[in-house]
Subunit: 403 residues, 2 copies
């Protein structure tokens, strides 16, 4: 993949946000640099009730050298959809000579393992891991960390264009290779989203939720710098990747607050406003690359309610951040009241956030998953290709906790 | 790219049609075999009045090592759309460090060159190259032949998903590498086509025209073998590739008859029913690989009239082929009358066909294009990458005519 050069960036403490970069070629003819990243990358696919054929398509788009981790929150009654998903992954691994990890978010054994590893905050009143997307991503990151690989990327399972999944992964690899920093993040802005309008297809350039999230994140920056900016174009990016060295330090928000909160947590931890606990990161800077894909993003329409929810969660996160300046906080309040989302005198709710995955005891997590989580699988299709079987997680070399 | 194995094929003389093969992985992790093919492949893009952004997307999907040839039949009045297209290609070449060829089908200089090279059949009453799609593909093949490369693939310009263009090209390379024959062809069957139905999107598995074309081509085969078959799934495949050694021997039909006629011409020349003039091909066999893509095929809806036209042209070609058995000819007549496409006692019209591109004198073609065709361009973006400029066609080493 060939990316357009990025000449401009905006700095906020150690965080350096690069202007949106376009993809010039999907395949630039030299693949060595990308393969080096891909062979160290885990791609986490949060999945909820997608059809078998959609999942197959998504899997087919993930480059061979990436390790697939499917975290499911699909129904297990009346049909056990997770079993169908796990079989789909297993069959794919067999055909492609790959290995993967699958797990169900609401498996009681997973909850037990998470508790054992030291994050009881993740467990709800039913004694299970909470059902949100952020929680699925957190679990995926913990599994990724256990493999010892260096990078993690996320790809939503509700994607009808395998070629766009492929492009996301290539963009992750190209961005991470270009960033060349132990603490880098790559976030995707899709080129367009096909929508129905007056009975015909229309390729919309902006998402309903992203537009507002980005606008407020940019106001956050402008309030500090005194200069209006549009640099942030990926506030709600479901598709994003980062070095695990960075990921393991990030606090993760629950539900759909997860993506915008990544920006806010970068600003809180490494923005230089609050005292940083991490001189190493502060010394080396945190590049955030934003890449505009070539493919349209073509997924199921989750409805207006879902979009409103995403938008609100982003603003709640921004409102409550200790680094958001008072003027922006007041504007958010005014906006929410004007939108009818809040009564005068009310405050936006706080979104749930979790400690960094780096605080988990991964050895304990693995042992408990292995012993108790019936949904925890490591299908291995490598054996059939004549290579020695190699389960993705090697118990003997799980990295120590980092935080 | 990893393709599923193809275990079954049907033989018709030297032509061996392989069962549809699925794509398992878009990127299988080892790219050497594909790059070897891509660096010998010309990708011809027939183009008519597409927007700049759609063309940019298509170009971005063509792997770096392939040489792009754009053959335009776009309006030049009131706005010269070809100039915009040529600029788009030139800018892309500059950004990507590539070279390309562009030409306009209705350029009087192109007509003069075609006449000089020995194919006056291609010229219409206005003294210009005929306006059909088959004619654009023929021109593209002649240009491809002049480059001395070994493979040619076609990609339609009206494609909204750059990732699918990318997949087509990878499928060509994977198929041609797998076929490993001097006379091979790869034809694409798209996975699905998104359509509007009752105000929602529906992923249709079969094209309106393809279904009927394939059915009749299979009846053609079944009439010989006595066994019903569904082996042909790509009768109307606009997306296909082949070795130039094969392509230069094929007669090419005009308009939209071009794609089904490729099958018929294979059967006529190499089917063993008529005496072959080409013992070399007969001895080495002609594999036709059919590949089902992962991506949906997402293009502009050209309307019912266009589809009906394509269907009719396919049946006309089949009806008039000297190798179609009488029972099939009679059934086609009955079908066309039943459909109201033909009155009782009428015969289907004959589609126009041209001699093989291998009969052209390529030296004369090049010299006349160079001297007279104002639209003939060879943008070269290689120079900017520090490599020596290398126009795609080297006058001194244009291959001799082969037929």
């Amino acid at each position: 993949m060939r990316l357009a050069d990025s000449f401009r960036s905006e700095r906020f403490g150690a965080v350096r946000i690069h202007e949106l970069q376009r993809v010039i070629e999907l395949d630039s003819g030299s693949s060595e640099a990308l393969r080096a990243v891909e062979s160290q990358m885990v791609v986490v696919v949060p999945c909820m009730n997608e059809t078998r054929s959609v999942i197959e398509g998504v899997l087919s788009g993930i480059p061979h050298d990436c390790l697939i981790v499917l975290v499911s929150n699909s129904d297990r009654q009346p049909v056990d959809r997770y079993e169908i998903e796990a079989q789909t992954v297993e069959q794919f691994c067999r055909l492609a000579g790959r290995s993967a990890i699958t797990v169900h978010q609401r498996d009681p054994g997973v909850a037990a393992a998470v508790k054992a590893a030291g994050m009881p905050e993740l467990i709800d009143d039913d004694g299970l891991v909470r059902a949100g997307k952020g929680e699925a991503m957190l679990l995926g990151m913990a599994l990724a960390a256990m493999t010892g690989r260096q990078y993690i990327g996320y790809v939503d399972a509700d994607n009808y264009v395998p070629g766009s999944v492929h492009e996301y992964c290539k963009a992750y690899a190209a961005g991470l290779a270009q960033a060349d920093s132990p603490y880098a993040m790559v976030r995707i802005s899709w080129h367009s989203k096909p929508k129905l309008r007056d009975g015909r297809l229309f390729f919309s350039r902006k998402g309903r939720s992203s537009q507002i999230t980005n606008e407020w994140l940019n106001r956050f920056l402008a309030e500090y710098s005194g200069f209006g900016t549009e640099v942030i174009a990926t506030g709600n990016a479901g598709e994003h990747a980062m070095t695990l060295a960075l990921g393991l330090k990030l606090r993760i928000a629950g539900g759909f607050a997860v993506e915008p909160y990544e920006y806010m947590d970068l600003f809180e931890q490494f923005g230089g406003v609050l005292e940083s606990t991490d001189p190493d990161v502060m010394a080396s800077s945190v590049p955030v690359l934003q890449i505009e894909t070539r493919n349209p993003h073509f997924h199921d329409n989750k409805g207006e309610e879902h979009v409103r929810g995403m938008r609100m969660q982003a603003l709640n996160v921004l409102y409550h951040s200790p680094v958001t300046l008072p003027a922006v906080r007041q504007s958010i309040l005014d906006f929410l009241i004007e939108q009818g989302a809040l009564a005068t005198g009310q405050e936006p709710p706080r979104e749930r956030t979790y400690p960094p995955v780096g605080t988990l005891d991964l050895d304990l997590l693995y042992d408990a998953l292995d012993a108790e989580a019936l949904s925890f699988r490591q299908p291995d299709g490598l054996a059939l290709t004549g290579r020695p079987p190699a389960p993705p997680i090697d118990r003997a070399s799980i990295p120590r906790r980092v935080a």
